[in-house]
């Protein structure tokens, strides 16, 4: 049975939603409107003069092969970050869930990396893989593997994925662990009595029951990989070499604030806005249907 509360009159509900509306307006509608407006202009860097160019900024972007390539980079990067950090998070959660002694210590230690800001995490990994002073690159060299992520695109990509996933594993671990602990023991025990193996139980009971959490984490991780990995990429590769680690958000920054091309940067923001809108619709319309709550 559904319960619904109705307000009489209009001023109280208006008052109650006003703060949220105000925040949405100031932090979302106003900046989005600005981005759409600016995407139609070609200003000079100092903001001294500007010219209306219609859709030229979009035309310029879509004919730039490096912009199109950054879509592919973004897909590879976000998939790799989401999948690897979720898989490892789930694996560690499954292990920690079975612990009897010292669970608290393990859990605390596993959650620790989440407390580290992306930019700091980036610098940390950069130190380890630095071509001059890095320990990891030193040992790799001793093993006969030439590490130079300033020059090799695949190595740079690997490093930013590694650094971005690292802190994320903790976050995913935390949610998966909570999810695992919420599954009633009686169901698992019943299946065990019926003779289902660990993997059988995991595949047919645990995973379906975890699906709401998995879905939530998928959304959150993709959003993270899209937007919050900026610090990692900026500190480790600055999008290089040859733009091989330039994801869409980084390109908005580098074209806008490094190259001072604000028109193009605004146009990219608009494209990104549309893209995120589409993604959200797809996620909730199609994927959510298959999730058991």
């Amino acid at each position: 049975m559904e319960k619904r509360v109705f307000f009489k009159g209009w001023w109280l509900p208006t008052l109650l939603v006003a703060p949220q509306l105000l925040i949405s307006f100031v932090f979302f509608f106003y900046p989005s409107g600005q981005a759409i407006w600016n995407s139609l202009f070609l200003p000079d860097p100092f903001g001294l003069k500007t010219e209306f160019v219609g859709l030229d900024n979009f035309r310029f972007l879509l004919s730039d092969p490096y912009y199109l390539a950054s879509f592919k980079t973004t897909v590879i990067f976000s998939t790799a970050v989401s999948v690897s950090s979720m898989a490892l998070g789930l694996y560690l959660a499954a292990l920690a869930d079975r612990l009897i002694k010292g669970a608290g210590v393990y859990q605390t230690l596993l959650i620790w990396p989440y407390a580290i800001a992306p930019a700091i995490a980036g610098v940390l990994w950069l130190f380890m893989f630095n071509g001059n002073i890095g320990l990891a690159s030193y040992y790799l060299k001793a093993l006969g593997y030439e590490w130079n992520h300033t020059l090799k695109g695949d190595q740079a990509m690997f490093l930013v994925i590694l650094a971005s996933s690292w802190g994320r594993i903790s976050y995913n671990f935390l949610f998966f662990l909570a999810g695992l602990q919420a599954i009633p023991k009686s169901i698992i025990e019943a299946a065990a009595i019926d003779g289902a193996s660990f993997w059988k139980r995991f595949g047919t009971i645990v995973i379906p029951l975890l699906s709401p959490i998995t879905f939530f984490l998928l959304v959150v991780n993709i959003v993270y990989a899209f937007f919050d990995t900026f610090g990692v990429i900026h500190t480790i590769t600055s999008g290089g070499p040859e733009q091989s680690t330039t994801i869409l958000v980084y390109k908005v920054f580098s074209d806008g604030f490094v190259s001072q091309d604000l028109g193009s940067s605004a146009a990219q923001s608009v494209i990104l806005l549309v893209l995120v809108g589409i993604l959200t619709v797809i996620q909730f319309k199609y994927i959510e249907r298959k999730v058991h709550y």
Partner: protein, 437 residues
């Protein structure tokens, strides 16, 4: 209630007066890009100025590397929070020149402040970069350098080479690298500032255009031209060395300087201003040589400058502009300039500083420190060797760096990479032309 208001008002009044009495000196802000040894030397200059008079105080802030400083300055200008003086590296010169209204031209600033200032006192190869075609100086040259070849003599000996051997051409350098590689030297060659050394200065030195329209001096409708056979030959050579492990790529800016100072790299092409750091840190015997060239070309012509100039940004009070003018005039004094030149390896940007240094016998006791100056002024400048004035050039350098990375890691030939860089760079030049019509 009335009492509270009165109290607040009196506190506010008091604060105002207290503020003014503390700020009897006019304070101006200078944003720059110098850290490390150069930052210390810059700080010394500022302290000297602040101590030399009691009317003005200069506060300096480091805003990151050259590009970051320029971007911070531009963003601050849009927000109306900009400093009085902004350090802009030579690459950003065209962008500032085009932004009329964003700065107070140097000649104007000095005239308004009643400062005596002689633009003719600057070395023309340097000041020409910051002067309009009708002879008006827009910004004040601060640090200017030119690329040279740095030699680790100890590693040369280890490679079985004569440390004084002739390294004037790239062919001879190649032979030395072969020998070094054969003796197991890990990093025979490295370089800083790829585009600046191996394309921009390379063009001037070989007297071939980097871009049409006199490298952009003659108009905004310039087009890039650094994909000529000579350019391709050189970049292909670098790519080959990288593949053979003779040249190690360490990064786009001056990252390789660390490896040289640590004694890992045998030969390095880097700005003459690497001198400050190398002199301080190198625990080996080093030498300075002219930048190598290819025989059978018009080289050696002359090399061009890199470095920065100081721009007085607009929108400041008359008092503050006066302070700015006084500080910039102070910086161009001969003793300040001569000391800067000798400490850093930057060129003496005024003729007086160069001759004072010569007189002091500095060049004799520090062999090689005069090479940069000689290399820059060895011939009468041509259209191709005057310098570069290209819009969006910081971004174009980024494109060049990206494409050159493709050559070094072996995924692209020099021809493909340079053609692509020219094509992509021209798109930006057209966009700049359009935005600055």
């Amino acid at each position: 209630m009335k009492h509270i208001k009165a109290i607040i008002a009196s506190i506010a009044l008091f604060a105002m007066f207290a503020g003014t009495s503390l700020q009897a000196k006019v304070e101006i802000q200078w944003w720059h890009a110098f850290g490390g040894r150069l930052g210390e030397l810059l700080d010394e200059q500022v302290n000297k100025f602040n101590a030399s008079q009691d009317k003005y105080t200069v506060v300096h802030t480091r805003k990151g590397n050259y590009s970051e400083t320029l971007n911070a300055g531009i963003a601050a200008f849009r927000a109306g929070q900009h400093p009085n003086i902004l350090m802009v590296f030579e690459v950003g010169t065209a962008s500032l020149m085009a932004a009329k209204g964003a700065y107070v031209p140097m000649y104007q600033l000095m005239k308004d402040a009643g400062q005596r200032f002689n633009p003719k006192g600057f070395v023309s190869a340097v000041s020409g970069y910051y002067t309009t075609t009708d002879g008006k100086m827009l910004s004040m040259p601060y640090n200017s350098s030119t690329p040279v070849l740095w030699v680790n003599k100890d590693l040369m000996k280890k490679a079985g080479l004569d440390p004084e051997m002739d390294l004037s051409t790239w062919k001879r350098v190649g032979n030395a690298l072969d020998a070094a590689k054969a003796k197991g030297i890990d990093m025979p060659f490295c370089t800083c500032w790829h585009s600046w050394v191996h394309l921009e200065n390379f063009s001037a030195y070989h007297n071939i255009p980097f871009a049409t329209k006199a490298n952009g001096f003659a108009g905004l409708d310039t087009e890039l031209a650094f994909n000529s056979p000579v350019h391709i030959k050189h970049i292909q050579t670098l790519g080959k060395w990288a593949q053979e492990g003779k040249f190690k790529y360490m990064g786009r800016r001056n990252e390789a300087g660390k490896n040289f100072r640590a004694g890992e790299c045998m030969l390095m092409t880097e700005s003459s201003a690497g001198y400050a750091g190398i002199k301080k840190e190198a625990k080996f015997e080093f030498g300075i040589r002219h930048l190598p060239y290819y025989g059978g070309t018009e080289a050696p012509q002359n090399t061009i400058i890199g470095g920065s100039s100081l721009w007085a940004l607009s929108g400041k009070s008359k008092e503050e502009n006066k302070a700015t003018a006084a500080f910039l005039a102070f910086l161009s004094k001969t003793d300040i300039q001569a000391k800067w030149h000798q400490d850093t390896g930057y060129l003496g940007v005024t003729t007086a500083a160069a001759s004072a240094t010569k007189k002091s016998g500095f060049y004799k006791s520090n062999p090689g420190t005069d090479l940069a100056g000689i290399q820059m002024m060895r011939n009468k400048v041509t259209q191709n060797s005057k310098g570069l004035r290209l819009g969006s050039f910081d971004q174009i350098r980024g494109i060049i760096d990206e494409e050159m990375e493709g050559v070094y890691n072996g995924t692209k030939t020099a021809q493909v990479a340079l053609d692509s860089a020219v094509k992509r760079g021209n798109v930006l030049l057209r966009r700049f032309e359009r935005a600055n019509k």
